[in-house]
Symmetry: C2
Subunit: 321 residues, 2 copies
C-alpha cells in the first residue's frame, strides 16, 4: 500500500454494525471491515467493538503513518464529542466517546452525529461538491438530516440541528413516534409508507406491489414500491409521488427559514425513480418564497452504505482548499 501518510480512518457506528475504513483524501475507500456492535451489552462493550474495528484497520495499514480517526454515531453528539442517548443502544445515557477513543488510540479523534457525517460525505466527495450550502435529508425508516453551510456542518447551539423529520406539515395531522402531531416523518417514513400501502391494496388487488412483497401486505418495503412504480403500477406511483410532495413541503419550510436552495436526499427510500424527485422538487419550489424559486434543486445523494465511513473520514481530513 502506498501513500499511507495520506490515509485517514473513518468509522461508522450503527446499532447493529461497526464499520471502519481507510480513506484517501479523494474519497476512495481502500480498505474496510465490519464488526457486530453488541449494542445490547452496554457502552463498554460497544467501545470495545469500535477499538477492535479501528485497530484492525490500523493493522491492515501495515503500521505506516495514518491520519486521525473520524467517527459517526447515532444520537446527539455535543461539541466535546460526548454521545447522548443513541436510539437502540442499551444503558447509554452520555458517553464521552471522543475523549475515550483519544486516550486509547493516542491520535486525533473527531466524533459527529451519523446524519451529519453523511451530509459531510456528500459535501466533500458526493452530490454536494458543487453546492456550498444545502439541506441533507435521510429518507428511510425515519426522516433525518443535516445542514451544510459554507461547506461545514451546522450543528446548532447543542449539536441537535437538522431534525427535518419533525417539521410539521399538518398541525392537526397524524401522530408521530416523537409524540407530536403532523411531523413529516409520520407521513413519509418507511413504516408509514408500508402501512399506508397495505391499507390501499384492497382497492388495488392486482397491484404489482403484491408481487414484489410475495403477496404479503405486511412485508411491503419501499423497494417494492419503487420497482412497481417503475413498471407503471398506479398505486405505487401515487403513494411515492404523494410522499415526495409531502416531504417537499417540509423541505420548503426549512429552505424559507434558512435561505437554502439545494436539498440532497439519501437514505433507503431515496432509491425511488426520477419522477418522485421531480415531484419533490416541484413541491419545494411551490412552497418557497419567490426569490428562492429559480435556484431550487432536489438532488439524489451519491452515497449509500459508504456515506458513514466517508463522512467520518471527512471529519479528520485536512479541509479542501
Amino acid at each position: 500500500m502506498t501513500d499511507n501518510a495520506q490515509l485517514v480512518i473513518g468509522t461508522d457506528l450503527g446499532a447493529t454494525t461497526v464499520k471502519t475504513g481507510l480513506v484517501r483524501p479523494d474519497g476512495r475507500i481502500v480498505y474496510q471491515n465490519r464488526f457486530p456492535t453488541r449494542a445490547a451489552d452496554g457502552p463498554e462493550a460497544v467501545v470495545g467493538q469500535i477499538l477492535l474495528s479501528v485497530r484492525e484497520a490500523i493493522e491492515h495499514a501495515g503500521g505506516a503513518s495514518l491520519g486521525g480517526l473520524g467517527l459517526g454515531s447515532p444520537g446527539v453528539v455535543d461539541d466535546q464529542g460526548v454521545v447522548k442517548a443513541p436510539p437502540n443502544m442499551a444503558d447509554w445515557d452520555e458517553v464521552p466517546l471522543r475523549a475515550m477513543l483519544r486516550e486509547q488510540l493516542q491520535r486525533t479523534v473527531e466524533v459527529e452525529n451519523d446524519a451529519n457525517a453523511a451530509a459531510i460525505a456528500e459535501s466533500r466527495f458526493g452530490a454536494g461538491r458543487a453546492h456550498p450550502d444545502f439541506l441533507f435529508v435521510i429518507w428511510g425508516t425515519g426522516v433525518g438530516g443535516g445542514i451544510i453551510l459554507d461547506r461545514k456542518i451546522f450543528r446548532g447551539p447543542t449539536g441537535g440541528a437538522g431534525e427535518v423529520g419533525h417539521v410539521v406539515i399538518d398541525y392537526e395531522g397524524l401522530l408521530c413516534n416523537c409524540g407530536s402531531r403532523g411531523c413529516v416523518e409520520a407521513y413519509v417514513g418507511q413504516r408509514h409508507l408500508s402501512r399506508r400501502t397495505a391499507e390501499r391494496l384492497e382497492e388495488f388487488p392486482s397491484s404489482r406491489i403484491l408481487h414484489y412483497a410475495k403477496n404479503d401486505p405486511t412485508k411491503i418495503e419501499p423497494l417494492h414500491l419503487s420497482l412497481a412504480a417503475e413498471e407503471g403500477d398506479p398505486l405505487a406511483q401515487e403513494i411515492l409521488h404523494e410522499a415526495g410532495r409531502l416531504l417537499g413541503v417540509a423541505i420548503g419550510s426549512v429552505m424559507n427559514t434558512m435561505d437554502l436552495r439545494v436539498c440532497i436526499v439519501g437514505g433507503g427510500v431515496s432509491a425511488v425513480g426520477e419522477s418522485v424527485f421531480a415531484a419533490m422538487e416541484q413541491s419545494v419550489r411551490s412552497h418557497v418564497l419567490k426569490p428562492l424559486r429559480p435556484g431550487i434543486r432536489v438532488i439524489r445523494a451519491q452515497f449509500g452504505n459508504d456515506a458513514g465511513i466517508l463522512g467520518a473520514a471527512g471529519l479528520v481530513l485536512p479541509s479542501a482548499k
Copy 2:
C-alpha cells in the same frame, strides 16, 4: 451633550417613515427625528430623505465625534449592503445603499434587513440579553423574523434567512399572499385575524370586540381583540389562543430544524395577553423533540417602535465583550 464619542447613529427605514436616533452603547436613545419616506418617488428620493434624517441627527450632536451609521431596511439585504425589492417602495429593484451612504457621509455604514435589525436590538439591549441563541418573530400584518446564533444575526447564504411566516403548518391549508398554501402567516397575520373575527361575529353578536371596533366588523384590529380578550370575551380569547397555538407550531418546526429553545415575539399583534404567550409556549413545547422541551421559552419582545433604531445602532456599536 456629553459622551458624544460613544454615540452611534441608528436609522430605521420604513415604507412610510425614516427615523434616525443617536444611541448610547447601553441602548439609550438620546435623540431621535422622523421624516416621511417618499417611497412613491423612487430610490433617489428615499436616499435623499435618509440623508436628511441622518444629517439632522449629526447636526444635533453638535459636530462632536460620532461613531458609524447603522440602517435597517425592508427587503432582502445582501452582505454588500445592497437592498433588493423592498415591499411598497416604487421603482426599487436593487440599490447599493451601503456604498451610497458611505460615499455621501464619509463614515462607517452598515445596512441590515429590518427584521434582523429588530432581532439585534433584542439580543443586544432587550429580552434576548440572557439568550445567546434565539428565534425572533415579528407578529404583525405579516409574520417575519430573524435568527440570532451566538449573539450574531444568522443571515443565511444570501441574506434571506428567518422567513418564519412562510413555514407551512397545513399542506392543504389556506392560500397565502406569497402564492403558496398553508403558510403560518395566512393563519395568524393581522389581516387574517381581522377577517376571521368578522366571520365569527355572527355567532357572537354581543362580543366586546364590536364595542372596540365601533360596531364596524371591517375595522377590527388586533388591539381590539386584545382588549376584549382581557375582559374575558370568549370569541376574542378563542381567536387569539388559536392564533398563538398555530404560530407555536411553526416556531416548533424552526426550533427542531435549528436546535433552538428560545423564541422572542415582537410586532403589533404581540401586545396580546400573557395567556396567549402561554398557549404559544405550550404549543411549541408539544411540537419539539424531547431533548429541547425543558428549555423552551416564548418571551415577549422588549421593544416596540424603538427596535428599528436600536438594532440599526447595534450594527455599528463595538461588540459587547
